[in-house]
């Protein structure tokens, strides 16, 4: 393995691979998508309503995949349950399981169930065969869809979303803390890391939902609600500005303080990380989307152009955020803790922690989402082509 300068002999081999890049990327999408969903629910941003359920399902799809890269990375995956059974209280990583379970069970599943319960009950009455069995199971025995009952669902759902927002911050802020609390590594060690992770998560989550919404509308040959997409793009711009400001603050602080690690990190930024950090993350993944969406806010841009701009910006943002995770995880291991040398990361194509596995883990959430969308259509009834039989509706109301 090519080494430039001096590295401690055990440092030459990188410990955290591309899978550990995928992990914060995926959890970031979860947190961001959920926060976008909560805009409608808590802050009553009506314009983004068409994406509310889609955002929830997107968040769930990615959340289900989130632990997989970690599991695949472990030297002894069969021992991973020990994190739940005998967690080490001083370890940031030990809390992952609990934060994850809390978010999955108490927030995501509960909120989706409450939001969909009405439809699930109707589906369980209008479908036949295995579908009927599936929906009946999903009702969890609660088939009361009276007005009062639905009002309770709505209220509880609101409370769950309210709890969900700090939980989303916790989920991803904690991921940032895992890196930010490693004092041995100056590239990671920063109190800003959890905050940067949260805002970058929001940026990526908002972008992915925007892209999925536009793609879904295209696939379903439905018109894209431009008021909705414009509003999402606005929120994307606001969070992007905060995220970029935080990242620049961190960078300026490092440059101005120029501590013992600076020379080493600066060298890395000009060489090995130049493409992924400067070109992909900062220029293509941040500056161009900010300028483009900012331009749309100021000038009157035709709808078709706006659509194209949003798709391009969304894609660039996703690439930029992935590059950001790459720069944190891989970049943080390319230099020696002696600050006297650098190593390289060789990404295998086919191995347990190789490119193919990483690509599969990034595709898997979309497959899960496609299945979820089939089971629980996020569209309004008329859009979904689902019109429950009147008698069933009436039955429900009477109940």
């Amino acid at each position: 393995m090519p080494v430039d300068g001096f590295m401690y002999p055990n440092e030459i081999e990188l410990q955290w691979s591309v899978l550990i890049v995928v992990y914060p990327f995926v959890t970031g999408l979860v947190a961001g998508a959920f926060i976008l969903a909560s805009l409608e629910r808590i802050f009553h941003v009506e314009a983004v309503k068409p994406t509310y359920r889609l955002a929830l399902l997107t968040a769930l799809s990615f959340l289900l995949v989130a632990p997989l890269p970690l599991q695949l990375h472990l030297g002894h995956p069969e021992r991973s349950l020990e994190m739940y059974l005998t967690p080490h209280k001083t370890s940031a990583m030990a809390m992952f399981g609990f934060v994850y379970l809390w978010y999955l069970m108490a927030v995501m599943l509960l909120e989706i169930w409450l939001d969909y319960r009405h439809e699930i009950v109707l589906f369980s009455q209008s479908t036949t065969g295995w579908k009927r069995l599936l929906y009946r199971t999903l009702t969890l025995g609660s088939s009361n869809i009276s007005k009062g009952s639905l009002r309770v669902d709505d209220r509880v759902g609101w409370v769950v979303t309210l709890i969900g927002i700090p939980s989303a911050f916790l989920l991803h802020g904690y991921v940032g803390f895992i890196f930010g609390s490693v004092k041995a590594n100056p590239w990671w060690s920063s109190p800003l890391m959890p905050v940067v992770f949260i805002f970058s998560a929001m940026v990526s989550g908002i972008s992915i939902v925007m892209l999925i919404y536009m793609a879904a509308m295209k696939l379903r040959r439905q018109p894209i609600d431009m008021r909705c997409v414009d509003t999402i793009a606005q929120y994307l711009l606001y969070t992007f500005i905060i995220d970029f400001a935080l990242e620049m603050l961190d960078l300026i602080h490092r440059i101005y303080e120029a501590d013992e690690s600076f020379r080493s990190l600066d060298f890395m930024l000009h060489t090995q990380l130049f493409f992924s950090q400067v070109v992909l993350q900062i220029v293509l993944g941040t500056v161009i989307p900010i300028l483009t969406i900012g331009f749309i806010q100021i000038f009157d841009v035709p709808e078709k152009l706006r659509r194209i701009a949003y798709v391009v910006c969304g894609c660039l943002t996703i690439v930029g955020i992935f590059a950001m995770r790459w720069n944190v995880v891989i970049g943080g291991q390319l230099f020696s803790k002696s600050f006297l040398g650098y190593t390289t990361y060789k990404l295998d194509l086919i191995s347990r922690e190789g490119e193919l596995v990483a690509a599969a883990l990034l595709i898997l959430p979309f497959i899960i989402l496609a299945v979820l969308v089939k089971i629980l259509p996020p569209w309004t009834e008329s859009q979904a082509g689902f019109v429950p039989e009147p008698s069933v509706c009436e039955l429900g109301k009477e109940a």
Binding site: F6, R79, M83, S91, M93
Partner: protein, 242 residues
């Protein structure tokens, strides 16, 4: 006679006992009392000749896989005032000694490195299951039957002392030859050092010569600004050493 009720009551106890049977019993050291010791090491840089004996002895004693190091030796070359940019090399961890230095002028010296058995060790702090821990006698150890292989501890060690065992897939590091020191022996690296550059130190033993040494010599630990409570003390450590 064992009734069904009694059997049911016995089962949990048997399950707990079985866990210990499976885990195996620790080696017996009848005369060793953990609370009475607090282990560290003294390294005299002036005495190290870079022969690599310590690295070889450690590898042989602990079955360290090729290409990985529980201990290693670095050679520093500092030319004049350039403290911040020393030239450092450690071919194969110094296991086979060092070829003659090509660097002219300035000073050359060797720095043996190993786990610092920190009192406030960042590696034990981050372990998600507590598989790595500091024992009562101050030695940082890894329970390989419990380690997940997540490698967080490797990232957290500021000194680069840990690695993932390529076969066991668990974190690995210097154990201060715990199997030896609990039997009253010294570590393999100390034992094999021809110049006495490494000295095992029991900081709780008032008769240990370390106390007199620390009172009368200038010593330093690596990366003191990280406040890890490192217990490997270096005599005459140059400011250029990282």
């Amino acid at each position: 006679m064992i009734t069904r009720r009694k059997l049911l009551m016995l089962l949990p106890a048997a399950a707990i006992a079985w866990e210990y049977v499976v885990a195996g019993t620790p080696e017996i050291s009848p005369n060793y009392s953990r609370p009475e010791h607090w282990w560290g090491m003294l390294v005299d840089i002036d005495k190290c000749i870079g022969c690599g004996n310590c690295v070889r002895a450690c590898a042989a004693e602990n079955g360290v896989p090729e290409g990985y190091f529980r201990t290693w030796v670095e050679r520093y070359h500092v030319a004049g005032w350039q403290q911040e940019t020393p030239q450092v090399d450690s071919p194969n961890g110094g296991k086979n000694g060092f070829p003659p230095s090509k660097a002219a002028g300035g000073k050359n010296f060797f720095v043996p490195k190993m786990c610092n058995h920190c009192e406030d060790s960042p590696c034990t702090q981050v372990c998600p299951v507590g598989a790595t821990f500091r024992s009562v006698d101050g030695v940082v150890l890894v329970d390989e039957k419990y380690c997940l292989g997540c490698r967080y501890c490797i990232q957290a060690c500021p000194y680069g002392c840990r690695f993932l065992h390529p076969v066991k897939h668990t974190a690995e590091k210097c154990s201060l030859c715990y199997h030896r020191i609990t039997k009253g022996l010294t570590t393999a690296c100390c034992e094999s050092c021809p110049t006495g550059a490494r000295q095992l130190a029991d900081l709780k033993n008032p008769k240990d010569p370390i106390h007199e040494y620390l009172k009368t010599h200038s010593v330093q630990v690596l990366k003191p600004h990280l406040a890890t409570g490192a217990k490997v003390y270096y005599h005459d450590l140059d400011g250029s050493v990282r």
